[in-house]
């Protein structure tokens, strides 16, 4: 049985790390990782960006962060407006970077949606494809955020070639 590899997971985590490095010259460190088991949205943070993936792999990748972290990010970009709208833009931008990295890594084997952003915990269980999605906690300037990788290889019968 082929499953996604550690390298595949790193594609998403590195995108976040890279984003913070580019914008603030301080990368987001990996703090820990675990498997999400039948709970509500794993580590609940305030705002979430999400991309949907289809093709050879299917599922969703989430980036979720607290308001304080996103506000700090905007400040380091010399933005003074810290309304929810702007914070959602920031989380969407990070999800977009994740999508870009995924496009580069997986090539044409995967279709990646435009990022969606949300300010309430997503109802992820309804759309979960993995029994236990990967949760990777990242930390930037003492703020924790999470990358949730819930993708799996699409069963071959469903892949349109």
């Amino acid at each position: 049985m082929y499953d996604i590899s550690e390298q595949d997971i790193h594609v998403f985590v590195d995108a976040v790390s890279h984003y913070f490095m580019q914008i603030t010259h301080e990368k987001a460190e990996i703090r820990g990782a675990f498997l999400a088991r039948g709970e509500s949205f794993p580590p609940t943070f305030d705002l979430t960006g999400m991309i949907k993936i289809s093709g050879k792999l299917r599922g969703r990748v989430y980036f979720s962060a607290p308001r304080a972290m996103l506000a700090r990010l905007l400040l380091s970009m010399h933005e003074s407006c810290l309304s929810d709208e702007w914070l959602l833009d920031a989380v969407g931008e990070i999800a977009n970077t994740i999508a870009g990295n995924a496009r580069r890594h997986f090539g044409e084997a995967m279709e990646i949606s435009v990022p969606e952003t949300m300010s309430t915990p997503p109802k992820w269980q309804e759309s979960a494809v993995r029994a236990r999605p990967y949760v990777i906690l990242v930390r930037w300037k003492r703020h924790d955020a999470s990358v949730i990788v819930d993708i799996e290889p699409t069963p071959s019968a469903e892949v349109q070639t």
């Binding site: 590899s5 790193h10 890279h18 088991r37 236990r132």
Partner: protein, 693 residues
């Protein structure tokens, strides 16, 4: 092989060589004609000069004759003699010159020196000379008496004078005509010479023009070919996915290399860059050493390329490079070297670098998948002979362990000490699962737990446990869950196939307990080529709750493993010590009071030697020599229950990671039990576990 031979050079410059050859031929022809003509012109000048002199001599002869008549009439003898001399001179010159014109001869030139006079060669001149002879022959006969020494008669003089008067003009005309004809002949020759020179010059010019045109055309064609070749090379280098470059004997990268080289090597590349430092940063020291030796070998003329190809240490070599985020990544690269020879000497190595990461990972996945399929079949066969209840217990227990691990991973403590505790906890927990799986012969879980354990040991022993390590553990954990889920699937299929209902099965925990431990003991003894006799007296297990039986089983598994690996000696060693060749392993479980039980495991092996243990602890760096010496034997023995302590020299799946007794210790603590260890060197070791319900 690149080699330019003389033949190829001649073929390449054929046209230019022919043109230069023709130029030289034309030059020689014109030069030869010039030399020949100048010689002929010189001859003609002598002839023209002398024929002009003949005109003058004919007149001087007539004049001398008339003067002689006058001298004789006047009777002046001195004048007669002087005039006779003059007459003799001019007649001699005229006659010899005329002979020269007729037959060719050496005659006296205008300056008194002898010159070669060639005979006339045109019809007109020959006729004139003949006509001159017609006049001159009688004339010279009449003149002979006058120029001879001695007296001549008046009649002879008069006859000669009369002949002169009669023929002087005719002879003058003939000599005049001769001069004119010789001049014409010289002019004709000069004209041809000009024609030849002009033609030669013209041909030389045409040849020069041809050479210039051919050379320019060849140069233009050659430039176009070079430009085309360059463009094609550039296109290839821009398109090819492999990293391509030429390595010179100074180990520097050439001026042309493929665009993808930087990407494949994951670093900036510039012409004339040193290659070995690049390699050194990417591969382990040992591989680097072997690679630089190999490259040196390839530049050596005496070694055959094909023979040393198998020595290339850079096939699918794992390299560590940093991505733009500064995270180090392992990729697999192939470096292929081909010699480039010029004129039979090795001038460069053509190096091809391929990123094989995808292929290597795919191959690993394939191998893994194959291994898994093999394991699944193996599992199926083993499970057919295994008690379903025992399997269910194992799966429950493994599931609980994985849940505990995952919960631990979620812990908020991300300090180094916190992470280290987490890794130790995970190792202990997995080791427990591994033991239980081994006891039931479920190799699928045992092997995977062993693989995980090896990675965890590396993490535990490294200086820093990173976030990436935790991601890796999570991936391993998910792998465990997947295997467990496969196993559950297999067991449920098996149960339905055999028609047995695990729940309905009568619970015979004693049989399961002893069966599992006996299987494990025999398997390990077989692996280590030891002989073992296993006995059990555990009927009181029936008085214990199932949960406690499972805990005891987990403890017993570690102790059996420990006894077989460290306690029971090999048959040879036992024989030397005067013991039975077959080692004895006994377990018992007894109720020793109200709700008090004692679980005991005894082996008749080499016992715990505090001296040997002390030495091991010092050598492995767990204790300093002074600390070890200061500790009592009991304190030293207690160290056996700390994480990371092992007395096995090599780690295998049964011992060596220093986790087993750590698990025992953790479980006993959880049961609030007490452990007593009794041992005599070379006689026995006993573990007594006492606990209350």
């Amino acid at each position: 092989m690149i080699s330019v031979t003389t033949k190829q050079l001649v073929r390449k410059y054929r046209k230019i060589i022919i043109a230069v050859g023709l130029f030289l031929v034309f030059d020689f022809i014109v030069m030869g004609t010039n030399i020949y003509s100048s010689f002929k012109i010189s001859e003609s000048a002598v002839s023209i000069n002398l024929s002009g002199r003949q005109r003058m001599l004919s007149q001087r002869t007539t004049k001398a004759l008339l003067l002689l008549q006058d001298d004789v009439r006047r009777g002046d003898d001195e004048d007669v003699i002087r005039t006779q001399k003059e007459l003799k001179l001019v007649v001699g010159l005229f006659d010899s010159t005329l002979k020269g014109f007729s037959d060719g001869a050496i005659v006296t030139g205008g300056d008194g020196h002898p010159v070669e006079l060639v005979k006339v060669n045109t019809d007109v001149s020959r006729r004139i000379v003949q006509e001159a002879y017609v006049i001159w022959t009688p004339y010279i006969k009449k003149l002979q008496p006058l120029i001879r020494e001695g007296q001549f008669s008046q009649a002879q003089l008069d006859a000669a004078a009369a002949y002169a008067r009669a023929n002087n003009l005719e002879l003058l005309r003939l000599m005049n005509d001769l001069t004119t004809d010789l001049e014409k002949s010289a002019n004709d020759r000069a004209f041809w010479l000009r024609i030849v020179q002009f033609a030669g010059l013209l041909l030389a010019l045409v040849n020069f023009g041809y050479t210039v045109v051919v050379s320019i055309r060849d140069l233009v064609t050659s430039d176009q070919e070079v430009a085309k070749a360059r463009k094609e090379t550039d296109e290839i280098l821009a398109t090819v996915r492999e990293g391509l470059f030429l390595l010179n004997p100074q180990y520097r990268i050439g001026s042309q290399y493929s665009e993808s080289l930087s990407e494949v090597l994951q670093r900036e590349v510039h012409p004339d860059m040193e290659f070995l430092p690049v390699l050194k940063n990417m591969v382990p020291e040992k591989v680097y050493g072997a690679a630089s030796d190999y490259i040196e070998l390839l530049f050596g003329e005496r070694v055959k390329e094909a023979l040393v190809a198998s020595l290339n240490p850079l096939n699918e070599v794992p390299v560590t490079t940093a991505d733009p985020n500064g995270n180090s990544k392992t990729r697999y690269l192939n470096f292929h070297f081909n010699r480039v020879t010029t004129e039979e000497r090795i001038s460069h190595l053509l190096v091809t670098v391929q990123d094989m990461t995808e292929q290597v990972l795919l191959a690993q996945q394939l191998e893994q998948a194959k291994g898994q399929a093999r394991v699944e079949v193996d599992v199926l066969l083993r499970l057919l002979n295994t008690d379903p209840e025992a399997l269910r217990n194992l799966m429950d227990s493994a599931n609980r362990a994985l849940e505990q691990i995952n919960t631990r991973l979620r812990s908020e403590d991300d300090s180094q000490s916190g992470r280290r505790l987490t890794v130790n906890f995970i190792m202990r927990t997995l080791h427990g699962v591994k033991g239980e799986a081994a006891a039931l012969g479920v190799e699928m879980l045992e092997t995977y737990a062993h693989v995980c354990e090896k990675e965890l040991v590396a993490m535990r022993d490294s200086e820093e446990i990173t976030g990436e390590n935790l991601v890796r553990i999570t991936v391993l954990l998910e792998g465990f869950y997947e295997r467990l889920s496969s196993l559950t699937d297999i067991v449920s299929r098996l149960t339905s196939f055999s028609g047995r209902n695990a729940d309905a099965e009568e619970e015979d925990r004693v049989r399961i307990f002893t069966g599992a431990l006996s299987t494990l003991a025999e398997r390990i003894a077989g692996d280590q080529h030891k002989k073992i006799s296993f006995s059990a007296d555990v009927d009181d297990l029936r008085k214990l709750p199932l949960r406690v039986v499972h805990e005891l089983q987990a403890i017993a598994i570690q102790l059996v493993r420990n006894a077989l690996t460290h306690g029971i000696e090999s048959s040879e060693e036992r024989h030397t010590l005067g013991k039975e060749e077959t080692g004895a392993l006994h377990i018992s479980c007894k109720e020793i009071g109200d709700y008090r039980f004692e679980f005991m495991l005894r082996d008749d092996g080499r016992g715990i030697s505090p001296a040997r243990l002390r030495e091991t602890l010092v050598n492995s760096g767990h204790l300093k020599r002074e600390e070890a010496n200061a500790m009592s034997d009991t304190e030293i023995a207690r160290k056996l229950f700390e994480p990371g302590v092992s007395t096995a020299s090599d780690a295998d799946r049964d011992a060596g990671h220093g986790v087993g007794l750590d698990v025992v210790h953790a479980k006993i603590r959880a049961m609030h039990g007490q452990l007593l260890v009794k041992s005599r060197t070379n006689l026995f070791t006993e573990f007594h576990l006492q606990f209350e319900l």
